[in-house]
Symmetry: C2
Amino acid sequence: MSSPLLITGFVRRAGEFFGDREVVEYRAGTEVHRCTHREHHARVVRLAGALVRLGVRPGDRVATLAWNHHRHLELYSAVPLAGGVLHTVNLRLEPGEITYIVEHAEDRVVFVDRSLLPLLEQVRARRPDLLVVVTDGGGGEPGVLDHEDLVAAGPDLDAPPAVDEDDLAALCYTSGTTGLPKGVGYSHRALYLHTFAACLADGHAISERDTVLHVVPMFHANAWGIPFAALMSGARQVLPGPHPTPADIARVIEAERVTYVGMVPTVAVDLARHAKATGADLSSLRALVLGGSTPSLELIRTLECDLGVPVYQGWGMTEISPMGTFARPPARTDGDPAARHAYVRTQGRLLPGLEWRLVDDDLRDVPHDGVHRGELLMRGPWVATRYFRDEHPESFHEGWLRTGDIATIDPEGCLEIVDRSKDLIKSGGEWISSVELEQALLAHPAVREAAVVAVPHERWQERPVAMVVLDDGAPAGPAELLDHLRERVPGWWLPERVLVVPELPRTSVGKIDKKRLRATVPVDRPGPPL
Amino acid sequence: MSSPLLITGFVRRAGEFFGDREVVEYRAGTEVHRCTHREHHARVVRLAGALVRLGVRPGDRVATLAWNHHRHLELYSAVPLAGGVLHTVNLRLEPGEITYIVEHAEDRVVFVDRSLLPLLEQVRARRPDLLVVVTDGGGGEPGVLDHEDLVAAGPDLDAPPAVDEDDLAALCYTSGTTGLPKGVGYSHRALYLHTFAACLADGHAISERDTVLHVVPMFHANAWGIPFAALMSGARQVLPGPHPTPADIARVIEAERVTYVGMVPTVAVDLARHAKATGADLSSLRALVLGGSTPSLELIRTLECDLGVPVYQGWGMTEISPMGTFARPPARTDGDPAARHAYVRTQGRLLPGLEWRLVDDDLRDVPHDGVHRGELLMRGPWVATRYFRDEHPESFHEGWLRTGDIATIDPEGCLEIVDRSKDLIKSGGEWISSVELEQALLAHPAVREAAVVAVPHERWQERPVAMVVLDDGAPAGPAELLDHLRERVPGWWLPERVLVVPELPRTSVGKIDKKRLRATVPVDRPGPPL
């Protein structure tokens, strides 16, 4: 019983069994591509052959700098099939960061959307040997190849290069809010196991009956691994194209009767607002999975009660391939929407196959009693134990990944992320959770988004300051919001100031950028805590 | 990302998260034991400690000779946790076979139900060092230990012995219809992966919400691996005790609102008859999974349409840990019961992670077109590549397991087992499928069971002979059954004779024993084929 665990086995499986399924692509809400998986797979096999002919050898990195479209999906299969390492580069990064990443990874080839070519100018000047393939043709650019030419000319890859289950199949760099971006390599074995986990009945439960819409960017942690799960299970796959709007997403869900979609809360907030305003029909969804940051109860309630969409939450990170937990409400919450929503607002239970710990500042274990807080450590066959070509000993402890998340775990194994360790606010020797303050602000009907950061304080070391984005035309002011908070959090947690702002800065993966917020918050009037 | 894949990780997981779940045991339809998983797990940990204290070292075999009860379930976790190999011995074997198996496996300890102690007399005489533990107490027997004493005295096993993912966690001997029994060793890795496969949304889909009834004997291929799946997912587990009758099974399903159960068709036929006769309520079942032999369409239809029980089929064998395929009807069969039932009568699709081939007598591949027949070969991380301490090169081919099953595979990846290779009937140079003839006979409303075997024939080499068991008081005779077959199979397939018999002999795992049938069938009147 010694067969290797290879993600390419699922590529072959889909090629063998799921020829009649569809792969569909939209752009700006309009269908631009529809083919059977049989056709898709034939293109994948030729593309893999073309990569080998281009000189890609086992272990070579092949980068993508692309939106969610069918050619990007082809690369998800073709690169590992050719023995290469699929290196998805975040297209929201600055050219300088992209240059660093492509040079650090020593990418041999990069597949790029034509509109994103300017992002590569700098690195192409430094790496003249870098092969560049434009995904969406259009001809003309000197020194670049065309994806369609490769598929047309590529010989079928009859015998995939031999790889070992511990060989890398994919690579992704973290967004690096501090320091240089760090690469996380995914072995065939890790992706194989992660794919099984994504298809568990108690996990995302991706199945043959699903129509999956890939809203999570394919440059972000393998789009949560869902493309591989869809491949393994034979689900239909739908791609929304470049930067879809909420209206685009709603239109695709309606047109394709999408059953499964994952997205960050920010996107879900906009989608829910759109659907409520227009009456868009999201009822085909059997699961909308939120991840990336903690959703508000209000968002969960709106999606479930107003729009009839079952909501779940997954938690993970680039270093966990990326999924670590899943919040599927237990039977005791049936018939009790409030209990169900409260459960979905937690990060849920550890996926089978993984292990976790909570530790204090001295790395001593703290109880899993739902009360004690500690930094979450993770370990398992799809959890990183090192970074790609870099030493970062501060990120690991005796084989465990230090997630940097402060959390509680209750006796049933339910995780609640309280804060990022670097976002916690230390006031007078006690900790204040920025996440809990934000959740309390979001419970106010007029608040669309909220962010809380620490500002230095002479007496209390740090004090919280809140910034909120209000719904259009909502009349709520800082005083009302402070009153609202007073009923929900301890008095000494009340923010020093509540600032109403038109929008919040975002990181390249769409999270609120607290680093930039901290740099912009006015600190001219530090008053005493209340 | 190099953590080992250990089945004991799921034991720890269940101990950590699922303390409030129940483990329940019945005997003859009456509840005799009910505890929380917290209590169950505490007993498991002490039992593992007791095993280590008894001298069980990593890799040592610990045998069980027991029915399905909660102490047997404890051993499923405790033996691997102690670093040992759980060796489940088939209690339906003869004492001589049991002696062979226990000596071949070099078991150090055997846990035995008191009622089965006589089966061990022979081997205990030959192996005075064999430690014997009686599972169900009652005292008095000299030289035997008591399971409860071990649990009571066992120290908690705080630090499980270090094991590698390729180390064996379990061992099972095939029933050996020809030759000596052969042992199949299951590594931690194989069981870990098999457990994931059992919980896939498109597989058995065992989940936290399930109440699982273990009807499949726990001495038979790890009870299809379902105890491990229940452990991983946190399902409630219910054990029916020794030789439950159909009435016992129905009573437990009703009392515990069982949602998942697996069984061989023979048991399901009796259960369905009982439920129809008594009005027993089986509606809590979300899945009744048939396996072990091909069910009749009539059985599937009765369960689904008359009793409201969704039916699936799994196929596998001891050498595949045991599950290889699962028949979950695709969306195209929705609203079309006949299409759904026809699909469930097939063995369904290959589980993800495995590979298969069909080959002819010269081991050349034949097409997967739903028409061509060949011997099924299997390969994968939970498929055996050798037997335990025995060479059987005839069972393997270049790393593939030769299943001995003759089958077709259609372009959607749907498997149909046509026959065991040794049960095919060669008549005038053409093959006749005993399975298809049996299925055709079972389609007659009066036929409860049917078996077809080959008898030697002077001119045609072999000819089929059928034996049938009729429903009580059914008037059908051989002539009527031949007329019935004439409309369903080619003329030259018609059995030489149709014999009505009161019952059919069974193997130790409950399959019809064709070896014994062939020995008993009268061959005095070989007439010409029709």
